[in-house]
């Protein structure tokens, strides 16, 4: 693959990316969240069609328009979210994937070929079990067998070990190695240097949609190299530690919460946040960031620890009380826990202040006052395409974020929790959001910035902490952050 470009809604996810895979190797693609690893492989697997560039297999130019064409060309991808129908058995899923033209017509035939393939490649899979009853690791094996049965000689796996235990991960990675020794090629998208070093032959590193290291043998690169290349110019943004930090606004001590089926556990998280300070928490997504935000906000219960806001423990208070005490939030998913799609912009802007009585007494609601106030906010924050009565669902991402900012940065703000505040926004909107946060902090608020975008953390924060596997594994003044330090912590070698 050469010179691949791909944009979504005018935002480039890939620009001039390249990738070269050889038969018989396990090839790792490493990079931060949003570096373009998955996008590049989705282009390879025909899920996305590239805007430009050249692709070939065995020297022959190809242009894939769909995953079916990719499968026919011998390329199969195991996605992070498996493409299996839960109410079907493994065999039925394979039958579904084979399509009408295949010679295999009945579930019994499909079961037979699944059993045969499973023996051949050494991955145990029971063809007769329903997918819904399988564990994550079993589903993954079923998905691999399915992809192989559809004719894959090149197997692409998108962060396959993220959902596995260490033992399961080792088993899977040695399978990948075995497969490559049989002449297949395997691509492994990963964050973990340890896996790269132990199981891969060559490594490609991506950053901001570009290939920064093109297929170097693993033996030639060190962990520090990988960390530096992954992080790259994010650190050229000068970190500015705060010369005179204000009083402690928010102190979190020994915060722990148990893991559940869909939840990372939090263990012994502690930090202090001062007035006028931005503390950035960097980390690869899924390491407990969502859970931390939910605990701070009061949506999830904590098992141990304390959350002190201005010296008062708020860890038992309900979300409304925490808000009254000055805690505000920009959630990572605006329409999940910030704005309500179906309500009007005026309603959304008034949402947090109505319980306190700002728009009428306990019974009547003063709709006209809400509209007037909304019109002011729309002017002040330059929210395009908005009128007080339009539903929030009609706003674009950037303008919806402005509505959220207008509300959350309003009166009484003491501590702002901003979780990936510029996710999905274009350059201009991103800059607007960042400068709004800076201004609020200069006015005396404190901000906890949780983001998977290292560049964002570096360009805003006075101090930087790193989160990994549900804990805070390191914290430094912004000026002291080095690529080796942060890269090592991100990849999980504290």
């Amino acid at each position: 693959m050469r010179g691949i470009g791909k944009s979504f809604d005018g935002k480039a996810a890939l620009r001039d990316a390249s990738f070269r895979l050889e038969w018989g190797e396990v090839h790792a693609i490493v990079g931060e969240n949003g570096a373009g690893k998955s996008t590049l492989m989705n282009v390879a697997a025909g899920v996305y069609v590239a805007d430009g560039g050249y692709q070939s297999i065995d020297g022959e130019a190809i242009s894939l328009r769909s995953p079916l064409e990719a499968a026919a060309a011998g390329l199969g991808m195991v996605h992070q979210h498996f493409r299996l129908v839960e109410s079907f058995t493994v065999a039925e899923n394979v039958l579904l994937g084979l399509g009408r033209k295949s010679k295999v017509k009945t579930p019994a035939d499909a079961a037979a070929i699944v059993a045969a393939k499973s023996r051949e490649i050494g991955l145990p899979v029971d063809p007769h079990r329903q997918v819904a009853d399988l564990s994550i690791a079993e589903r993954q094996r079923a998905e691999i067998v399915k992809v192989m049965l559809l004719g894959a000689r090149i197997l692409v796996m998108d962060e396959p070990t993220a959902v596995l235990t260490d033992e399961e991960a080792r088993t899977l990675l040695s399978f990948a190695q075995r497969l490559s020794r049989q002449g297949h090629a395997v691509v492994l998208i990963t964050h973990k240097f340890r896996e790269v070093a132990a199981f891969c032959d060559r490594v490609t590193i991506m950053r901001h949609g570009e290939t920064v290291l093109d297929g170097a043998p693993v033996a030639d690169v060190t962990e520090a190299d990988v960390a530096r290349l992954m992080v790259g110019d994010a650190l050229t943004v000068a970190g500015r530690p705060l010369s005179r930090p204000g009083d402690v606004c928010l102190r979190v001590e020994g915060l722990s919460a148990q893991a559940t089926a869909h939840r990372q556990n939090l263990n012994d998280i502690g930090f202090e946040l001062h007035a006028g300070e931005i503390l950035g928490i960097a980390g690869v997504g899924g390491n407990g960031q969502e859970e931390l935000v939910a605990c701070l906000l009061g949506l999830e219960k904590i098992d141990a620890g304390a959350i002190m806001l201005d010296g008062e423990d708020i860890s038992a208070a309900r979300p409304g009380k925490r808000r009254e005490a000055g805690l505000r939030i920009i959630p990572s998913d605006r329409f999940d826990s910030g704005l309500i799609r179906e309500l009007s912009i005026a309603d959304n802007l008034a949402l947090t202040t109505i319980p306190g009585g700002s728009f009428g007494g306990p019974f009547l609601l003063r709709r006209r006052a809400m509209r007037e106030k909304a019109a002011e906010a729309i002017d002040a924050f330059d929210i395009r395409g908005a009128t007080p009565d339009r539903p929030a669902s009609l706003l674009s991402g950037g303008n919806a974020q402005k509505v959220l900012l207008a509300r959350e940065l309003g009166q009484g703000l003491k501590v702002l929790i901003a979780h990936s505040p510029s996710r999905g926004l274009d350059m201009k909107a991103t800059e607007f959001v960042r400068s709004a946060i800076r201004r609020a902090v200069e006015a005396g608020a404190a901000c906890l910035l949780i983001s998977e975008d290292l560049q964002e953390v570096m360009s805003l924060s006075h101090r930087v902490a790193v989160m990994n596997r549900g804990g805070i594994v390191g914290c430094r003044q912004a000026g002291d952050v080095t690529p080796e330090w942060i890269g090592g912590l991100l990849a999980g070698h504290a």
Partner: protein
């Protein structure tokens, strides 16, 4: 050949499109219903006569429709307010039975001074209905029991309770039928002098208008919308989610209870085994067709009341069964819901 197609949510379906699809659905539903009736042996010429003229254009028909609509408005509102906070109250009939039992108890035992007899029945019926739904609410909050199941099954329990009473202590002493004795007149809503229509209409109108006002213009109504649309965001923005949901669910039960009182004190003047039949399905139909809007609940309830009136005529003169009437309601509901689907989504072919 249409191999694949996408459903695309319309950004902002206009008023015209919405009304047109609604009317279209209604028309299809009525046409199919008419065909069913003709098939069942009702002469086509009689349909117009019975439906339009007898139901809407005669004084008798109209008063009967209005009377039938009163409990329908209450159960429709009951279903609608619970729907606003995404609580599926499929036990309207159960709460209605409990309300009927409570008001019958007051009426038969002459509880309280005569002048306050109806208000006492009203309050106790509301409390009984709320208490009955509170069981399901508790099960849901404490153990996550699905309210669709628990409210539905508690409806059957309530009916068994009614039978227990009617075949036991409340059996009519005069003839041993499983119905209560007729209530003393202090427990009747007085007749207004137009057919069977009674003073209960003022109570229903008062309740419906208050609920409309609360839902559209009060803080509680605002909370209800926020909680119903996105409970997580409502919680995260600091709204009292639990209090709002509990309040509206209990209100839903109370309204069903009052509907039970409306029937026994308004038209039957006694408790029997059939006063609550069919209200569950009607409540759901009304709330859906009215899109949980209180004022529309009134309109749709009258339309459904008309169907009941016409149904009674059909039953008597053409020996059409009760099931046929329910079938017609279902047909109209399904066709309007399908029409609504197409006003919300448009069908696109991949290019």
């Amino acid at each position: 050949m249409l191999d694949t197609a996408f459903l695309v949510r319309r950004q902002n379906p206009g008023f015209l499109l919405t009304s047109l699809s609604y009317a279209g659905g209604l028309l299809v539903g009525l046409t199919v219903s008419a065909m069913l009736l003709v098939h069942a042996g009702v002469p086509a010429s009689a349909l117009v006569d019975e439906f339009l003229i007898a139901t809407f254009l005669t004084s008798d028909g109209l008063s009967q429709t209005a009377t039938a609509a009163l409990p329908l408005v209450l159960v429709g509102l009951a279903s609608a307010v619970a729907m606003r906070v995404r609580f599926w109250n499929i036990g309207v009939e159960g709460q209605l039975w409990l309300g009927a039992i409570a008001s019958t108890w007051v009426a038969l035992n002459g509880i309280g001074p005569e002048a306050l007899r109806l208000p006492t029945m009203f309050v106790l019926a509301a409390l009984a209905g709320a208490a009955w739904i509170a069981i399901s609410l508790f099960l849901k909050l404490r153990w996550g029991v699905n309210e669709v199941i628990s409210t539905l099954l508690l409806g059957s329990v309530a009916f068994l309770l009614v039978q227990h009473l009617l075949f036991g202590v409340w059996r009519d002493p005069a003839n041993s039928f499983p119905v209560t004795a007729t209530f003393p007149e202090a427990s009747w809503f007085s007749i207004l002098g137009w057919g069977q229509l009674h003073t209960g209409i003022f109570l229903v109108a008062g309740i419906a208008l208050s609920i409309w006002f609360v839902m559209e213009h009060s803080r509680a109504g605002f909370y209800a919308d926020a909680v119903g649309f996105n409970a997580k965001a409502a919680l995260a923005t600091g709204l009292p989610v639990l209090r709002t949901a509990v309040g509206l669910v209990l209100l839903s039960g109370a309204l069903s209870g009052v509907a039970g009182m409306m029937i026994v004190a308004g038209t039957e003047h006694r408790l029997n085994q059939s006063v609550g039949n069919g209200y569950l399905f009607s409540a759901i139909v009304i709330a859906y067709l009215a899109r949980a809007k209180p004022l529309w609940v009134i309109v749709v309830s009258f339309a459904l009341g008309a169907v009941f009136t016409a149904g009674n005529v059909l039953k008597v003169f053409y020996s059409i069964s009760e099931a046929m009437i329910v079938l017609m309601q279902g047909t109209v509901l399904m066709s309007i819901l399908m029409a609504q689907f197409f006003s919300t989504y448009s069908l696109k072919r991949p290019n």
